[in-house]
């Protein structure tokens, strides 16, 4: 019987170890990429970053775009900070998923890393942000909302998750700013996750919530929520009767994008490799299907476009964060 116990422990150990033995890496000198590839999702499983990483892994593999073994590594913590710090010291066979947080963490003063510390490879997808009220709310339109806030910015409780300075929050700040509301005085309640904001709004514990469109969509279709405005420049497919901010006289567009980047100092060849593979990936049917299931929209930009895009975005975010009164001293 003792032997069988040992066997079981051995088995358990191997299982446990194999779950985390993703560290082996090849020397990507001559032929890139060599050995295992790692996609770092700087968050726990279950969110958009993790989903993007696993979708890439899946599409690369199933379409034989990349034959190397691809692992997804979760490095949660600090709004991406932990994962990206890790990426910074890795070989070029590591990539990491990113989003605007790679810019805002620094602008908010919570990180020393900037987007310039990495090699931009691509922007892959975007979601759009929505401002939502319960169906029976007296606020019927984005104008109603903004008028009310202009008179008294503190008159409404606005739910946002999971932290101030993220896209949910800043897209609302931008709308308010564009309309002429004093954004520093707004009354934000910060919830732990998008699900929590939905619950808070359903239970009417807050007046308004700002969240990504995918988080609002199901409740909208079920007739529980009214979406006042979305941040895209055209109406969103499937939500054809929801107006954009632009249509309602608030001139703004606000993508909630996700992209991918590599460690610093990748070579031209390595960048070209990913331009080729990623541009193929985003055209595949598998990718399109995953995008549709997740309510992501195509937003592909190659490495060169991404570099420029990040620079513009950084400036835009800097202004917004100043506007929200969140800038570091």
């Amino acid at each position: 019987m003792k032997k069988s116990m040992l066997l079981i422990f051995g088995l358990i150990l191997t299982l446990g170890l194999s779950a985390c033995s993703s560290q082996s890496s090849g020397e990507g000198e001559k032929q890139y990429p060599k050995g295992n590839l790692q996609i770092i999702a700087p968050a726990t499983p279950g969110g958009g970053w993790d989903a993007t990483a696993r979708a890439m892994q899946k599409v690369f593999k199933d379409n034989d775009l990349i034959t190397n073994n691809i692992n997804v590594v979760n490095k949660p913590g600090g709004g991406g900070e932990v994962g990206w710090k890790y990426l910074k010291n890795q070989k070029p066979n590591h990539l990491a998923i990113n989003s605007s947080l790679v810019l805002t963490n620094n602008l908010l003063g919570s990180s020393d890393l900037t987007y310039k510390d990495f090699t931009p490879l691509a922007i892959l997808t975007t979601e759009w942000e929505a401002v939502v009220v319960p169906k029976d709310s007296p606020i019927k339109s984005a104008k109603d909302l903004m008028k009310k806030l202009k008179v008294n910015p503190k008159s409404l409780k606005v739910a946002v998750a999971p932290s101030l300075g993220n896209d949910d929050h800043l897209s609302f700040v931008q709308a308010a700013k564009t309309y002429g509301v004093d954004a520093t005085k707004l009354n934000f309640l910060v919830y732990g996750s998008g699900g929590d904001t939905v619950t808070a709004l359903l239970g009417k514990h807050v007046d308004v919530a700002t969240m990504s469109v995918s988080e609002a969509k199901e409740q909208y279709k079920a007739g529980k929520f009214r979406i006042l405005a979305v941040t895209s420049n055209k109406r969103i497919k499937g939500l054809d009767d929801v107006p954009t901010w632009k249509e309602q006289g608030v001139d703004m567009e606000f993508p909630h994008w996700r992209g991918v980047m590599g460690p610093p100092d990748m070579t031209k060849e390595q960048i070209a490799y990913w331009d080729k593979k990623l541009s193929k990936m985003v055209k595949s049917d598998d990718w399109k299907k995953i995008m549709k299931n997740n309510d992501w929209e195509p937003y592909y930009k190659n490495s060169k476009e991404t570099k420029k895009f990040l620079k513009e975005q950084n400036k835009m975010y800097k202004d917004l964060i100043d506007e929200a009164g969140l800038a570091k001293k």
Partner: protein
């Protein structure tokens, strides 16, 4: 949300398809194993399986993932009972009486009882799901920040009952837990608190690391001090595998009461199995006729939390399936996986795909019955762990503790935390500080603080917000009752004692 009996039968039809039965078996077994291992929880297991579920039929994927989830609830208590090291937050309460039972040579009975209690709790919850999913989802929505704060406060009041006889030590332990819970980014303001520039600390200290550190590493260190004595102590014996009639009679009431408690708490997003099992334990302890036996191997003290945490895992499916809101880490991962496959749980799921919902519910019935069989069959094998010489067993536990910790966040910083908390655990054991209050306070502390502040922000600083709803007032009354109950009982006993001088005081 109209229910239809033919949908239900159709659901059984789907759930009983050989392929789905196979997934229930695989998921249940896998869940049991990851539940047993410290750190490797159901969330990790489901995440690892995501690439596999891609190609699966959505119903099968859902069945598989749910089976892992409740399977882990069965597995989680195995190591609590045998080694005093819970695999997960919801298995902590199983150490209180499970481990003393094992020490008394009733390991087999403890394992069997925990499986049976889990089964009954699970079945109660499945029935509850069928009858009450709609109204409960509505009920859960009534919980605003104030109600959540009061629920967490009520949970903390359990500490009084947990540390009876060592009240001061219990409160010190809780205070340490609350202090630890303030580490990390403050949600409402974005300020970094006590992170000392370590970015891994910005999301706070993972309570699982603390659990593994204090329980597993602490336990190993504690036993290391007397390891020579231990090995010469010889066989402890595992006792009978099947429970006695007397044990059954003592446990039935607690099991039947704890199932609904766990189920309802499980429905509240963010509350979950840890709180459910803890509240069931303390409820039983407080209303028991023999509260003194609790903590010393009372079988009903094991049965109650086991019934409750399994019921909570079923309850957690309600916000997920009816509103698309994940109520726990595992359901969040499940939601992500389901969305990838193209199934979006939410308010329309019951209307659009009743077949899917019913197949899942029916598979939970089957899965729970199957899991009790696996777990009882495993009893004979698992109790052998107790025969393993400490010099072999403890190094293995240490390795598992480190592996488990690493797989949670893939972070080396957690290793340091693990060792620090191991030493804290050792010191606490040597000085006889109760551990559960610390862990409990750490689990609920952060949410409690955030909800307190959100309540005050939304009421513009008016404390009246905590007395506004019926739920708030009920929770306040329950908290007060739970705080004063031990003293009331004592007072009554004293009065009785003065009438009957032969009676010995507690």
């Amino acid at each position: 949300m109209g229910y239809n009996i033919s949908d239900m039968i159709q659901g059984f039809h789907t759930a009983l398809m050989p392929i789905n039965l196979l997934f229930v078996v695989i998921g249940g077994f896998l869940g049991t194993i990851v539940g047993m291992l410290p750190g490797l929880g159901p969330a990790t297991a489901v995440a690892v399986l995501i690439p596999i579920t891609f190609g699966m039929d959505p119903i099968s994927a859902l069945i598989l993932m749910a089976a892992i989830y409740y399977g882990a609830m069965y597995g989680g208590s195995r190591s609590s009972i045998l080694l005093n090291t819970p695999g997960d937050g919801s298995a902590i309460a199983a150490t209180f009486d499970g481990y003393p039972m094992a020490k008394k040579g009733q390991a087999g009975q403890a394992l069997a009882m925990s499986a049976i209690a889990s089964l009954i709790g699970g079945l109660i919850a499945v029935v509850g799901f069928i009858l009450l999913a709609g109204p409960l989802a509505k009920f859960a929505l009534k919980f605003g920040p104030a109600e959540y704060f009061l629920l967490f406060l009520f949970t903390l009041s359990a500490i009084v009952s947990l540390s009876k006889g060592a009240m001061v030590k219990g409160f010190i332990s809780m205070a340490v837990g609350l202090l630890l819970s303030t580490v990390g980014i403050d949600q409402q303001t974005g300020v970094y608190r006590f992170t000392f520039g370590i970015s891994q600390l910005s999301d706070g200290i993972d309570f699982l690391v603390v659990i593994i550190g204090i329980y597993a590493v602490g336990e190993v260190l504690y036993n290391l001090i007397g390891i020579d004595k231990l090995s010469s102590k010889g066989k402890k014996g595992v006792g009978k595998i099947w429970i006695t009639k007397e044990q059954w009679k003592r446990s039935l009431g607690p099991i039947l009461r704890s199932g609904p408690i766990g189920f309802v708490i499980g429905c509240l997003p963010g509350a979950g199995g840890s709180i459910a099992s803890m509240l069931s334990y303390t409820t039983e302890k407080q209303i028991s006729k023999r509260p003194d036996e609790f903590g010393k191997g009372a079988i009903e003290g094991l049965a109650a939390p086991e019934s409750s945490n399994n019921a909570a895992s079923v309850g957690a499916m309600i916000p997920l399936l009816t509103m698309g809101i994940p109520g726990s880490g595992t359901t969040a991962v499940m939601l992500g996986a389901l969305v990838m496959i193209g199934l979006r749980p939410g308010p329309l799921l019951f209307k659009d795909s009743p077949d899917m919902v019913w197949s899942l519910i029916d598979s939970m019935f089957i899965g729970n019955i199957f899991l009790v069989i696996i777990n009882i069959l495993l009893v004979g094998l698992l109790v052998k762990i107790l025969d393993t010489p400490p010099k072999v067993l403890y190094p293995i536990i240490l390795v598992l503790a480190f592996v488990g910790t690493y797989t949670m966040n893939y972070s080396i910083v957690d290793f340091y935390l693990l060792m620090i908390f191991g030493i804290i655990g050792l010191v606490m054991k040597l000085l006889k500080f109760p551990i559960a209050p610390l862990i409990l306070a750490l689990i609920v502390g952060g949410d409690m603080e955030q909800n307190f502040r959100k309540s005050l922000v939304s009421s513009n600083g008016d404390l009246g917000v905590f007395f506004h709803s019926g739920i708030s007032i009920t929770l306040i009354v329950l908290t007060l009752l739970s705080l004063t109950y031990p003293f009331i009982i004592q007072w009554f006993k004293k009065r009785k004692k003065s009438a009957d001088p032969a009676n010995e005081s507690m």
